[in-house]
């Protein structure tokens, strides 16, 4: 029995090796590794939309495949290696925890291109990419500030890491820019994904007076809770209007399609170089979902104008002066925050009513 298994493995391995030298006429194989099931909304769903868009744009030249629900860690390394060994030309690893496994495999497969989402380590054949979600959050905050009656907004957040804090602070900056009285309250769930807890957090914020809620967690529970309680919400990752047609004013959505098309195109043309891409509105990597009819005309116009300024680079959500909760100036007037400072953000700006626990 044991012997038979080994023989079978050997045959399989031989089959894999013989499949390696692909002829030029065949479409290039492009692999995607997803951290969760695709589902109908959320982080992975958006990456999958990007994959489909790229596949359509490069029809005939590429064949894509995805592996979903891959846990970060040892399993990820196996999946990434399998794809590389199967002759995949490009592998997109779409979760932060895939960083080290991907780098490890990349060293063993120098002929394969790897692109890692949200990471910070590059290599000769490893590029990293991410989106400036906080730009969308800023505009969400502006809408919230314009439309709130209670001057309180609620934010359901997963973990106090820089990416999440960027979103919270950008929202607060946006909200305070139009409503100086506004305050933003934050509840941490310490879980990326627990619909029950996310819902409770949203309900808590609403019963404490928040009439605008948003979230940096993975389910649609917050938007649904807002719909149920008759307050407004901002979706994240995906357009969640289906789950809260009255509640969702807009959503900060991720668009990866153009980026994927560009990277694969470059690889096919032989011009690809490892890069660190951090794109926002300007690069078409994020967008706002269609605004709810409840958003009045003047707010629409303002949001359109601000989005234009963000695109043109004449406005930055963290343009100085940025003052943190303790009154310390983090970004001086007339200056703008550097990407490095953004990437290690560990404070709340003024306007966030909750306190960030000290480390």
């Amino acid at each position: 029995m044991q012997h038979g298994k080994k023989t079978l493995l050997a045959i399989l391995a031989a089959g894999l090796v013989s499949a390696l030298p692909a002829t030029a006429a065949e479409p290039a194989k492009i692999g995607f590794v997803y951290v969760s099931p695709i589902g109908d909304a959320g982080w992975t769903y958006q990456h999958n939309l990007g994959r489909l868009q790229m596949e359509k744009a490069l029809a005939g030249k590429v064949a894509t495949k995805y592996v979903e629900n891959v846990p970060e860690g040892a399993d990820a390394e196996r999946v990434v290696r399998d794809l590389a060994r199967d002759g995949y030309k490009v592998v997109f690893a779409t979760s932060f925890g895939y960083m080290n496994p991907t780098l490890k495999v990349a060293k063993q497969f120098p002929g394969t291109v790897f692109e890692h989402a949200t990471g910070y380590k590059q290599d000769k054949n490893v590029g990293v990419y991410n989106a400036r979600f906080y730009e969308g959050r800023y505009l969400n905050g502006v809408i919230a500030g314009k439309m709130t009656k209670s001057h309180i907004a609620g934010y359901v957040a997963a973990f106090p890491i820089p990416e999440v804090l960027q979103g919270i602070n950008a929202f607060a900056q946006g909200m305070r820019s139009v409503d100086p009285k506004a305050e933003l309250r934050v509840i941490w769930t310490n879980s990326w994904y627990d619909p029950g807890k996310e819902r409770e957090a949203a309900m808590t914020l609403i019963s404490q007076g928040a009439d605008m809620v948003t979230h940096h967690t993975d389910s649609t529970a917050v938007v649904q809770a807002a719909q149920e309680r008759g307050v407004y919400a901002f979706g994240y990752h995906s357009d969640m209007s289906k789950y809260g047609p009255k509640a969702q004013l807009t959503a900060t959505t991720h668009l990866w399609g153009d980026f994927y098309t560009r990277v694969v195109g470059e690889v096919l043309a032989g011009t690809w170089k490892p890069t660190n891409v951090w794109g926002g509105f300007k690069d078409g990597m994020i967008a706002l979902a269609p605004l709810n009819p409840a958003v009045p005309k003047d707010v629409r116009d303002l949001v359109g104008k601000l989005e234009g300024e963000l695109k043109a680079g004449t406005r930055h959500p963290f343009a100085g002066p940025v003052v943190d909760q303790d009154g310390k100036t983090r970004v001086a007037a007339g200056q703008s925050i550097s990407d490095a400072d953004l990437a290690r953000m560990d404070y709340y700006v003024q306007g966030v009513a909750s306190k960030l626990p000290k480390k």
């Binding site: 109908d40 509840i187 619909p195 409770e200 808590t204 404490q208 626990p357 000290k358």
Partner: protein, 310 residues
């Protein structure tokens, strides 16, 4: 939104605790018969998707909850066949059931991820609902919340005041004695296991149909495991199970209110999130610290297979 803070916290606590109460009481009955079914998480997950799918297609949340119960029973009977008929190891089978159920629910649930269900309306109880402070929290709940209270009364009465309950507990203590007197040990254990499955399925149905009316893979998020732990830490006493579940819900909701209030707290949020677990375990250990009582309450044959003809 002008609800009193206390009312809001109490209301949310009750809602958060209800699935735990339902599932833990079901598991309590199963374990009192000497059967250790660790598959609650899986049975909840399958109950949740069965209920969601049925509620979606039929338009009736009640049919959905029946389907959730049915799915939980089906899965628990599978467990019963393995452990009661074929004498497989209960711990291993239960763990397998938990993993299998979660996986199966994800598989069945694929087409339902984009579907939204209407919210089940609350059922205010006349007069009581108008009581100040506690009225809106206790008596403007969804029907399943009241059902969980009825279930508590029923299980307490059944176990300690009825003859059938006495037989069930006897099975958990000494199946061979019960068999010698002439009770059908395996058949009764099947019933107890099925009841546990039904309640786990109903708990799952509460999550997907009442609590967050939607289906997403992994939405049970560990509540099955918490319910299992509650039974043990409550030393197999229904009232303590109830206390534990409400305490867990209460601390979870209160820490959120503290966070949302904007009060200055120098406590890491990770610790706040761990607080419900810590508080529940601590309190239950304190109230059930009498070792003699623990030995008296825990079913002695728990987890051990029994073959009547041996």
């Amino acid at each position: 939104m002008e609800t009193h803070l206390f009312t809001a916290i109490l209301f949310a606590t009750i809602v958060a605790a209800t699935p735990l109460v339902i599932v833990a009481l079901g598991e309590l009955v199963t374990e009192k018969a000497g059967v250790l079914n660790l598959g609650a998480e899986g049975m909840m997950a399958v109950g949740a998707i069965a209920a969601f799918a049925t509620a979606h297609h039929s338009g009736s949340p009640w049919l959905g909850m029946l389907a959730g119960i049915g799915a939980g029973v089906a899965l628990s009977l599978l467990f019963g066949v393995l452990t009661l008929t074929f004498m497989a190891n209960q711990v291993a089978s239960g763990l397998a059931l938990a993993i299998f159920g979660v996986g199966l629910s994800g598989f069945i649930g694929k087409p339902y991820e984009s579907v939204a269900l209407p919210t089940v309306p609350a059922l205010p109880i006349p007069l009581l609902a108008d009581l100040p402070l506690i009225g809106p929290a206790l008596f403007q709940q969804q029907p399943l919340v009241y059902l969980s209270w009825a279930l508590f009364a029923l299980v307490s009465w059944f176990l300690y005041r009825s003859r059938a309950g006495l037989v069930l507990r006897a099975l958990g203590e000494s199946p061979s004695s019960a068999h010698a007197i002439g009770y059908p040990v395996i058949a009764i254990r099947y019933l107890a296991t099925a009841f546990g499955g039904a309640m786990a399925g109903l708990g799952g149905a509460f999550l997907s149909v009442c609590y967050t009316p939607m289906w997403v893979e992994g939405m049970v998020a560990g509540r099955g495991w918490i319910a299992l732990a509650l039974v043990v830490f409550a030393t197999w006493r229904p009232l303590r199970v109830m206390v534990g579940a409400y305490l867990f819900g209460g601390v979870m909701i209160s820490q959120m209110f503290v966070q949302g209030s904007g009060l200055h707290i120098e406590v890491p949020t990770q610790l706040l999130s761990a607080l419900p677990y810590l508080a529940t375990v601590a309190v239950l250990v304190v109230i059930s610290r009498n070792p003699k009582l623990i030995r008296l309450n825990s079913p002695i044959s728990l987890g051990q297979p029994y073959r009547p003809d041996a």
